[in-house]
Amino acid sequence: MTCPFLDYRDSAGDRTFDTARAYCTAAERFVQPMRADVCNDRYDLDHASDCEIFLAHEDELDEAEIGSEVPTEGPDA
């Protein structure tokens, strides 16, 4: 399961990208690619235990804007 706060966006605010990138709806910003592995629960990573942003916002989940469908593994996984 991926983080419910994860979305993939190609723009937010004044930032635009050619390819949609990992965006944290809790932190309201694009996240670092390494952190995106945590958001996606890749390898042995788990957003519920490994992400301080998720842990700080977990109690807001009912109100959170849940992200769109998220690819959990890209072609290089």
Binding site: A36, D37, E52
Partner: protein, 280 residues
């Protein structure tokens, strides 16, 4: 290596860390992520004076990839665009299983060099890149098998003990080449005396490379030049040119450290000279 090495005028090897695996275009839109972008960045860095390019691989959306095929695409692009630059693959990978960490070593041809992290490194609040001795030994064994020169990454002073321990456990080809890394968190605090101390605690005959994160990149590169070491710069380690101003490119950061070296009278090594120095 010492100030006497600086006075002796040994050529300076500049490594350009082009892309990394932690931050990406969200931090600086000029950071290369695709194989084509990395290939062009490698050529520009080489033209500017870099002898080595340190490479990570990414998925099309900038996220990390450890796949041999993705490293192969990048290497092919580097060799298509650059002339003779030395290719160094990262084997780092916070949170990635051990088997993934070996995949960057398996391109054809193998990279001439690869990084070998000497011990644990904390990331964010809940992650640690463990880099156990068992993992270090296994990666080193595959590097030996494939003729790859290890670049020993020393995140803090405890990792200097790990370098000595590695030399006791395994045979490393001369010269041992260690990157001394300075910054926040688990890294050695970026103070000049700590660089001097780290150099003094290296094994006899080891060469060192100097890496300062963020605002410390240029000061530590300059000190590395003066202490007879080598230097690493690039957008993986520092996305700014100066405070509040994003760097335009990796080449821009290489050009600046070349100017410093030239002002200090230190010749910059070509890839061919770097191969001789490193025993590749």
């Amino acid at each position: 290596m010492t100030y006497d090495d600086f006075l002796a005028g040994d050529p300076l090897i500049i490594t350009a860390a082009l892309t990394g695996g932690v931050h990406g275009k969200e931090a600086n839109p000029n950071l290369p992520e695709t194989p084509a972008e990395i290939g062009r960045a490698a050529a520009a860095a080489e033209d500017a004076g870099a002898a080595v390019v340190h490479l990570h691989a990414r998925r099309p959306n900038g996220e990390r990839s450890f796949a041999t095929e993705r490293f192969q695409e990048i290497d092919d692009a580097v060799r298509r665009h650059a002339d003779d630059v030395i290719v160094q693959h990262s084997t780092g990978g916070t949170g990635a299983p051990a088997e993934k960490r070996h995949l960057p070593l398996r391109t054809d041809p193998a990279p001439e060099m690869a990084s070998l992290d000497m011990g644990p490194l904390n990331r964010y609040d809940h992650l640690t890149s463990e880099n156990t001795r068992g993992m270090v030994d296994a990666l080193h064994a595959e590097m030996v098998e494939r003729g790859i020169k290890p670049e020993l990454e020393v995140f803090n002073d405890g990792h200097l003990n790990e370098v000595h321990g590695l030399l006791e456990r395994r045979e490393l080809a001369d010269p041992v080449y260690a990157t001394l890394i300075f910054g926040g968190g688990t890294l050695t605090p970026p103070r000049p005396r700590n660089l001097r101390n780290a150099v003094d605690n290296l094994p006899e005959g080891a060469l060192f490379n100097t890496l300062g994160f963020g605002r410390h990149q240029l000061p530590f590169a300059t000190m590395g030049i003066l202490f007879g070491g080598h230097v690493r710069v690039g957008l993986e380690d520092n996305v700014y040119y100066r405070q509040g101003e994003l760097a335009e490119s990796n080449a821009q950061l290489v050009e600046r450290v070349v100017r410093v070296a030239e002002e200090l009278g230190r010749e910059v090594a070509s890839p061919s000279q770097a191969r001789d120095i490193l025993g590749l």
